[in-house]
């Protein structure tokens, strides 16, 4: 008798990102929830080797990641593009002390955005990060997500730099609004 295995779920770029975080031995993940990060957050919460820490605001994560590194652990932060604006002054902590840091940012306010209030920060996310000397990578296609995050993790932790991977709204899918 052969047990029929459940059909494998189709590969997902969020799973590839999670695999990259695991390969880089990320042990703390700070996040402010975003729909685009849901699956990744669930992976992190389910992994006993990762402490997933919900934040009230994104800048808390910069301190969390610095503390993790002081204690010998690696952290990653998940946020939406609107949250990048909340981080700007706090990035001076990472820069002044050369803390390695990686921000995984789901984009709003670009492809197919319904809500105009998301647009001002969404269209300035990359420029704002670059003003603070953050190395920015963009992912437009699902198959690039895992390798781009792996590359950003490498340069963050080997180079003591701050990197951000912007996951485009076209990749995530524009938020569906039901009236």
């Amino acid at each position: 008798m052969t047990e029929i295995a459940p059909a494998p779920s189709p590969p997902d770029w969020r799973d590839d990102i999670f695999a990259a975080l695991k390969a880089a031995e990320i042990r703390q993940v700070g996040y402010v929830p975003d729909a685009g990060h849901t699956r990744l957050i669930e992976h992190c919460q389910a992994d006993p080797a990762i402490r997933a820490v919900g934040l009230t605001s994104e800048e808390e994560g910069i301190g969390l990641a610095a503390g993790a590194w002081l204690g010998g652990q690696r952290a990653a932060l998940l946020m939406q593009s609107s949250g990048v604006g909340n981080c700007i002054n706090m990035l001076s902590l990472a820069k002044s002390c050369r803390f390695p840091l990686i921000l995984l940012v789901t984009m709003r306010g670009e492809w197919g955005e319904f809500n105009p209030w998301r647009v001002p920060m969404g269209t300035r996310t990359q420029a704002a990060l670059e003003l603070m000397d953050v190395l920015v990578y963009r992912v437009e296609r699902a198959e690039e997500a895992g390798e781009t995050v792996a590359a950003a993790l490498d340069i963050a932790f080997n180079g003591g730099l701050v990197t951000a991977v912007l996951l485009s709204q076209r990749l995530i899918g524009a938020k569906r609004w039901v009236k």
Partner: protein, 194 residues
């Protein structure tokens, strides 16, 4: 009036907290609490903030989660804590048993000209901490209670929040290194992770 001010002297308070610190790790908030810690003597297990206002408690959280076998003490000021008030909610959820947060509360922004802070207008940091789910909360206003509290820091197993009422007066500045990379690297070396 100052002679009758019952609140604590900040330098005596920090000495009391760090006396017999053992292997406890220390994070201080920018401004006066960084000078306070340095006044007791520089230590490679001190991580002083010179900026990043509002980050002290969260750095303590990340450190506490990374090193569950070590005790972590964060000492910061009321203004610094008020800027990162959300951190109390986050810490109230995570509740690491090895983290103690101590706020030196003089009700003023000492670094910028002694403007009044929200605590001087009645905001209770102990009330906020308790409402955020931190169970061990202490409001300390005299040397005997502080001494008792300092003894508690030598062995604790739940998240602690304490507000220490200190006098609003400036103490002589004792400036530790401002080189963040140096402070980070020596801290990690002291922990054997660099």
């Amino acid at each position: 009036m100052r002679d009758n001010d019952p609140r604590l002297d900040r330098r005596a308070a920090i000495r009391s907290l760090l006396e017999g610190r053992g292997d406890m790790l220390l994070v201080t908030g920018l401004g006066s609490t960084t000078y306070d810690a340095a006044s007791v003597g520089d230590d490679e297990r001190n991580f002083y903030l010179w900026g990043a206002m509002g980050a002290a408690a969260m750095i303590g959280l990340g450190l506490a989660l990374a090193r569950p076998e070590r005790r972590i003490l964060v000492v910061t000021g009321d203004g610094e804590m008020l800027m990162g008030l959300g951190a109390l909610a986050t810490i109230g959820v995570e509740r690491p048993p090895n983290l103690a947060l101590v706020v030196f509360d003089n009700g003023h922004y000492g670094e910028t000209g002694m403007q009044r802070s929200h605590t001087d207008a009645g905001v209770s940091l102990c009330g906020v901490a308790r409402a955020c789910g931190i169970e061990a909360v202490f409001d300390i206003a005299d040397p005997a209670t502080l001494k008792e509290f300092a003894a508690r820091l030598q062995d604790f197993n739940r998240t602690i929040f304490a507000r220490v009422a200190i006098r609003a007066e400036e103490s002589p500045r004792v400036l530790p290194s401002r080189d963040g990379v140096h402070l980070k690297n020596r801290f990690r070396r002291a922990l054997g992770v660099e």
